[in-house]
């Protein structure tokens, strides 16, 4: 019925702590089409990982509470309302996840083969032997040499890049429809990062899995994704295709992000423009736009009322008062947007 594998509507997630309620995700809506690679970017603490882990229901509750909203998966189940049992069936078989730290996210007491076959035996009812064969095949697919021997080794016998390949093999073993990769290359060196990105792109084409990649590296976004969501303080501030986001960004926070990273292909003389200040405290999020305190274009209304998403094209929208018809026109900083070739 729908071409969307995932539809997130007005998702709100909070954590109850001794100090009070942290509103980590404050009304996030987006969708993911089948076969698409979507990137979620933002600084630490913006809620991008919490959003992803809520989609997989990986955050223990308590302390987390889903305060509202829905997550429709494959047009049939609302993830926020599924029971633990049902979720166990979906997780691993229909959704896979790759974590940031390949050093700590594998079980050190189990062989690699056992960790791959676990899901296959549970979800697909394969026999031990069939699962083992499939594990070897998966290791070959992710580019490990000597998979027949490697399958019986333990995680400590692998390097960081190799472990991340194993993680990918585990996540893809049951051919999930959705793959969530949370900072999949952040812990890796650049030459290894390039290998892993290439592998993920290649596998997404082969397996037709839809991918959500969470990252703070805009270079990785440009390389992998078709669409991007920019999050700030638990909300989506802008979303669009990569071209819209990189060449025609509308939100001052997106401008700030693009201006604060140096580009290898540009002159060294250009000064980096940092975003002043730090993100707001989510114990008591500001009344108006969360970015207003750091925004050079903030107006009176920004401090009072949180802006809604303004649709710009079918795929592009941003939440900013500058897009209101009555707002004063603002020039986007010159260095943001299309660079003269």
């Amino acid at each position: 019925m729908s071409k969307n594998i995932l539809e997130v509507k007005d998702l709100k997630v909070s954590f109850n702590t001794y100090a009070g309620e942290v509103q980590a995700v404050r009304g996030v809506s987006f969708h993911l089409e089948k076969g698409e690679v979507l990137a979620i970017v933002g600084e630490s603490g913006c809620g991008k990982s919490v959003t992803a882990q809520t989609i997989m229901r990986l955050i223990p509750s308590p302390p987390s509470v889903i305060k509202g909203g829905s997550v429709m998966f494959d047009g049939k189940v609302d993830i926020t309302k599924t029971s633990k049992k049902e979720m166990e069936k979906i997780r691993g078989s229909e959704m896979g996840m790759i974590f940031q730290d390949p050093m700590t996210s594998l079980n050190p007491t189990m062989t690699i083969g056992k960790q791959i076959t676990e899901g296959l035996i549970k979800h697909q009812g394969l026999s031990r032997n069939a699962a083992h064969e499939r594990a070897v095949e998966m290791l070959r697919l992710v580019g490990l040499s000597n998979p027949e021997g490697r399958v019986n080794q333990y995680p400590h016998e692998f390097s960081g890049g190799m472990r991340q390949r194993v993680m990918i093999a585990i996540a893809l073993a049951c051919s999930p429809k959705l793959l969530i990769a949370d900072e999949p290359t952040t812990a890796l060196d650049v030459t290894i990062q390039a290998q892993i990105i290439e592998l993920m792109k290649d596998l997404s084409e082969k397996t037709e899995a839809s991918i959500i990649v969470i990252t703070h590296d805009l270079g990785v976004v440009a390389e992998m994704a078709q669409r991007v969501i920019v999050m700030y303080a638990g909300k989506v501030v802008e979303q669009g295709t990569v071209d819209e986001l990189f060449y025609d960004p509308k939100h001052p926070y997106t401008w700030g992000l693009l201006r604060s990273v140096p580009r290898l292909d540009q002159d060294t003389d250009s000064e980096l423009v940092p975003i002043p200040g730090t993100p707001p405290d989510l114990f008591s999020p500001p009344k108006g736009c969360a970015f207003a305190a750091r925004c050079p274009y903030a107006m009176g209304v920004c401090l009072e009322i949180d802006p809604d998403q303004t649709p710009l094209t079918d795929t592009h929208s941003a939440a900013c008062w500058l897009l209101h018809p009555d707002a004063p026109p603002v020039e986007r900083p010159v260095e943001v947007g299309r660079v003269a070739q």
Binding site: D189, V190, L218, G219, R259
Partner: protein, 318 residues
């Protein structure tokens, strides 16, 4: 440049004994010089020895062999008062702002620790000095009485920088000073480094793995692989015309935040991973992953030589 470089590293080696008679050659035969007032970037992937190089230069580690000449004097032979003086001239900013500040000291005392050790100021002058430094790095006066846990990562890194500046050094080694920070905050700290350099005529050795950031801040860059320098040149030349195949692949591996460029460019994807430094390949250390490897590469370690003016590399192709 006729002027004597502020720092000269000659055949520097740092080996660690790691048990069962094995030797880890973390830094192997490093040769480079840093001129007064410039920023020298040292890049490479994890385990390439760049941090060990920094720590050996400032003499947190004793060198296995070779020389580090600072203002013409061999750092590793200094003793007593001269060593004490040298420590005042060279300071370090560490990678992890969460681990490198004593949690039980106030920020004021952290910053002034060097001032106290070197007996530079006391009383009201000392207090004034701390406040000056806090302002110079973009913090407030009242932060002096707080403790490190009350600060964010970016602010802590500013405290680390203020501490390094406190005793007015000529030379600062910054070991991955921004890699633990968020992107928007990285730019703040990098701009601070640049501003302080302009104001105080500092010389930096900037160690990092983020080549884009290193290129942004450095005048010249050295690229390390498995304990050896493979290429040294100006940051423009390194990007415009990288000579060593490792530098070429390193540059090609870095994604550029521009979708159109990413769609069209051809990249060199290196096969395999960095060999174990305990058991490095014979000859050129890069030959096992090098797309241009020849038979000579397995036999002879290429000489590190000036191939073009001010452009040094160690590769048999040149």
């Amino acid at each position: 440049m006729s002027e004597q470089p502020i720092l000269e590293v000659r055949n520097l080696q740092k080996h660690f004994q790691v048990g069962s008679g094995k030797t880890l050659k973390a830094v192997d035969n490093l040769n480079f010089a840093i001129n007064r007032g410039e920023t020298f970037g040292l890049v490479g992937e994890s385990g390439c020895g760049k941090s060990t190089a920094g720590r050996t230069i400032i003499r947190l580690y004793e060198a296995t062999s070779g020389e580090v000449l600072f203002n013409g004097e061999n750092v590793h032979q200094l003793k007593g008062k001269k060593l004490h003086d040298f420590r005042r001239q060279m300071q370090m900013v560490f990678q992890d702002p969460y681990a490198s500040l004593n949690p039980r000291m106030t920020v004021g005392n952290i910053i002034a620790e060097g001032v106290d050790i070197h007996g530079m100021y006391s009383g009201a002058e000392r207090k004034e000095r701390v406040i000056d430094l806090l302002r110079a790095v973009g913090l407030n006066d009242e932060h002096a009485n707080r403790f490190p846990h009350e600060f964010s990562g970016g602010q802590r890194q500013r405290i680390g920088i203020a501490r390094a500046l406190a005793i007015e050094p000529q030379f600062i080694i910054a070991d991955e000073p921004i890699s633990a920070l968020d992107v928007s905050v990285q730019a703040q700290v990098v701009n601070l480094f640049k501003k302080l350099q302009k104001e105080r005529g500092l010389t930096y050795l900037f160690i990092a793995h983020d080549l884009a950031m290193v290129k942004h801040i450095s005048d010249r860059i050295g690229v390390m692989y498995l304990g050896k320098l493979v290429e040294v040149t100006t940051s423009e030349a390194l990007y415009a015309k990288p000579l060593h195949p490792y530098t070429q692949s390193l540059l090609s591996a870095i994604p550029i935040p521009d979708p159109e460029i990413e769609r069209t460019r051809e990249r060199i994807i290196l096969q395999g991973e960095i060999p174990s430094p305990l058991d490095p390949p014979s000859g050129c250390p890069f030959r096992t992953r090098c797309p241009h490897a020849m038979s000579v590469c397995a036999e002879v370690m290429p000489e590190f030589k000036e191939v073009e003016p001010n452009h040094y590399t160690a590769c048999h192709l040149y």
